[in-house]
Amino acid sequence: MPLVADRCICLRKIEFSETSQILTLFARQGGVVRVIAKGAHRTTKVGASKFGGGIDLLDVAEAVFSHAPHRELPPLTEWRLTEGHRELRRNLRAIYLGTYAAELVTTLVHEHDPHVELFDRLEQSLREVATARREQAFLAFTLDLLRETGLMPELNACINCGQPMSRVARAAFAIDRGGVACGDCAPNFSRRVGIDPRLLRVVQTILTLPRLAGQPQRLPGLTRNQTDPLNRLLAEHIRFSSARELRLARYILAPSA
């Protein structure tokens, strides 16, 4: 079995037995892969453990694993930690946003489907959510994820009459149509959530920002009053498009988190 070395982010970790873990990794070159880490908890007397002290959610590492797309669970053989997110771990909101980002990637990205730019955006965004820029950084990441996976909803103009959102006073998002409708057209759609058109203009601003190494520059500062309605809308859209439940959505939308 050939070995591959790749930079990886741990998206999900399930204790499989006393000594093994099943990991869902986002590999920079290889896309989402599932591997088994045998002996993950074992340490020698001098404190050397097989995977440098254990593998945690959101950890970034230079990893080595067998490349075997036909095989159910190829074994992980090396894990050299490069980012353990010390700052992120000190803030509950940062932990929830980071975990939600990981959940969104596992929900929307198919296994073995490479997404190099998206990987870089996730790595950057996990650093950003540890800072005071976390709200805008998380929103920008979600938008990039939707764009990269071809699931970006129509947020620019009414899906019924084509009127641009920059000119309407009221708007709603039609969940089963994946787009926004102006106040006049909204009653035509039964599954809808109201949205302030000014917030949709914020989205357009973010999407057109200049980028450096893929990362949007000079993101506008946003508060939860602005991001909560957008995160709620995008969560509804992702749930509908993927037909999957999003466990973290409730946590990041809770007033106390």
């Binding site: 006393e18 050397a48 959610l57 771990r89 509950l92 975990t99």
Partner: protein, 201 residues
């Protein structure tokens, strides 16, 4: 290929389902029991029946116990004003072997793990808040595991306790290098924790 009778196969399957026991070991244990005198072999069955009928959770701290209160909660020499919050009874056993903690514990019986569907209501946080309600506790030591879910659980409890009991002191177990280990084998996170948590000598 010859196969075992149903009852032997059942016994082997039961052992093989235990953590750390493979099929070969399960067969060895099963045949060892078959060779034993009935009264000796049945002692194992009795021991299993005993723990399952007599062991329950302490009504105060949720540690494993044979009575209403566990042996730590019922020990008058333990300091009831300092509570160390941990995830599992086995974490309590590990801390007790160190022998240096004289307070009492609160066992969460899990951690908040949103991705796995483990929610705040699935651990014993409400019971901890009810203990704080009684007004005796002056310090809570967070002893959840030093990983993302353990840290998240600790921060969630910190929010809840801080909001409702602002006078209670909140601390967490130190993290960093393991005694008896080598610096060269420690990973980046552990070394950073060790540097920021350095102590005066």
């Amino acid at each position: 290929m010859a196969s075992y009778t149903q009852s032997i196969q059942n016994l082997i399957n039961q052992f093989a389902s235990l953590p750390g026991i493979g099929l070969r070991s399960a067969e060895r244990i099963a045949f060892h029991l078959l060779k034993q005198k009935p009264e000796d072999a049945l002692m194992l069955a009795e021991a299993i029946r005993d723990v399952k009928t007599r062991i329950r959770h302490c009504s105060v701290c949720y540690n494993l116990s044979e009575g209403e209160l566990c042996n730590i909660c019922s020990d008058p020499s333990r300091d009831q004003t300092v509570v160390c919050v941990i995830e599992q009874p086995k974490d309590l056993l590990a801390l007790e072997t160190a022998g240096s903690f004289r307070g009492v514990y609160h066992v969460l019986l899990g951690r908040i793990a949103p991705l796995e569907g483990m929610e705040p209501g699935d651990v014993t946080i409400d019971a901890l808040l009810a203990r704080l309600e009684q007004g005796q506790i002056r310090e809570i030591i967070m002893g959840t595991n030093p990983n993302l879910e353990g840290d998240g659980t600790a921060l969630h409890i910190q929010n809840e306790v801080g909001r409702r009991f602002p006078d209670v002191q909140l601390t967490r177990l130190a993290r960093g290098l393991a005694a008896g280990s080598n610096i060269e084998y420690a990973n980046k996170s552990v070394l950073a924790d060790a540097i920021s948590g350095r102590q005066k000598m």
